[in-house]
């Protein structure tokens, strides 16, 4: 069964460093998403991406964040200058279409720790 994969599973970085979290969505999917979950808090939407453009982003997704689909198979989330409060589990998801008819398939997550 096709799966969304994410690498790395754990990432430790120092404050102020740039990190790139990588995701390989399911191959025929066209819609891509990032969510995050700070320890002890709810899963929060960050951004949705379709046709090489951001469809929607939350207030969390400020200028420090960017997303890219560099090669037609990967979908990346970049944090330019990490802060302590960026420590969280980051989930990538992909879907075949837009709307609730289409399930969002989630990856296992990348745990980011900023020290």
């Amino acid at each position: 069964e096709p799966e969304v994969t994410q690498t790395p599973s754990h990432q430790v970085t120092q404050m102020g460093q740039e990190v790139i979290l990588r995701c390989v969505p399911i191959s025929n999917h066209l819609y891509f998403y990032w969510y995050r979950q700070i320890l002890g808090q709810k899963v929060e939407f960050l951004v949705s991406f379709y046709n090489n453009e951001i469809s929607e982003k939350s207030e969390i997704f400020d200028d420090q964040f960017s997303v890219e689909r560099p090669d037609g198979s990967n979908f990346t989330l970049k944090i330019r200058s990490t802060k302590l409060e960026d420590s969280a589990m980051y989930f990538c998801a992909s879907g075949a279409g837009q709307g609730a008819r289409y399930e969002q398939y989630f990856g296992p997550g990348t745990r980011l720790t900023v020290t």
Binding site: S48, E56, Q98, G99, F106
Partner: protein
């Protein structure tokens, strides 16, 4: 704006007994509602979804949920718990008019199943 409240952060049941995980939602529109499950070190997996068709929705692994508009609830049930049901469960709402297909998560309920 939309929101989801999961009324119990932890639920413990004995194997073979019924499961009830409670969820209330708030939405300005007729929402789509989902239950996702997360097993350790795995991605979020869709259990079932409600998208304005039948109010009683059946999902995988014997789970079902009933949409009750008058109570703004979408509780998840299973007649008989199995040890493999131990996991974290998330109630999720989506606004069908939302262009980015953003999902809004509840805080999660950790289900423990005792032998």
């Amino acid at each position: 704006a939309q929101s989801v409240t999961q009324l119990d952060s932890h639920v413990s049941v004995s194997e073979g007994t019924p499961v009830l995980l409670r969820c209330n939602y708030s939405s300005s529109y007729s929402p789509s509602l989902f239950w996702y499950v997360q097993h350790p070190n795995k991605g979020l997996q869709l259990l079932l979804k409600y998208t304005s068709a039948a109010t009683l929705v059946k999902g995988i692994n014997g789970f079902e949920a009933e949409f009750k508009k008058s109570e703004t609830s979408f509780h998840l049930t299973k007649p008989s718990a199995h040890m493999s049901d131990a996991a974290e469960y998330f109630c999720v709402v989506s606004d069908p008019t939302n262009a980015g297909n953003m999902l809004t998560f509840g805080g999660g309920t950790r289900l423990m199943v005792k032998p």
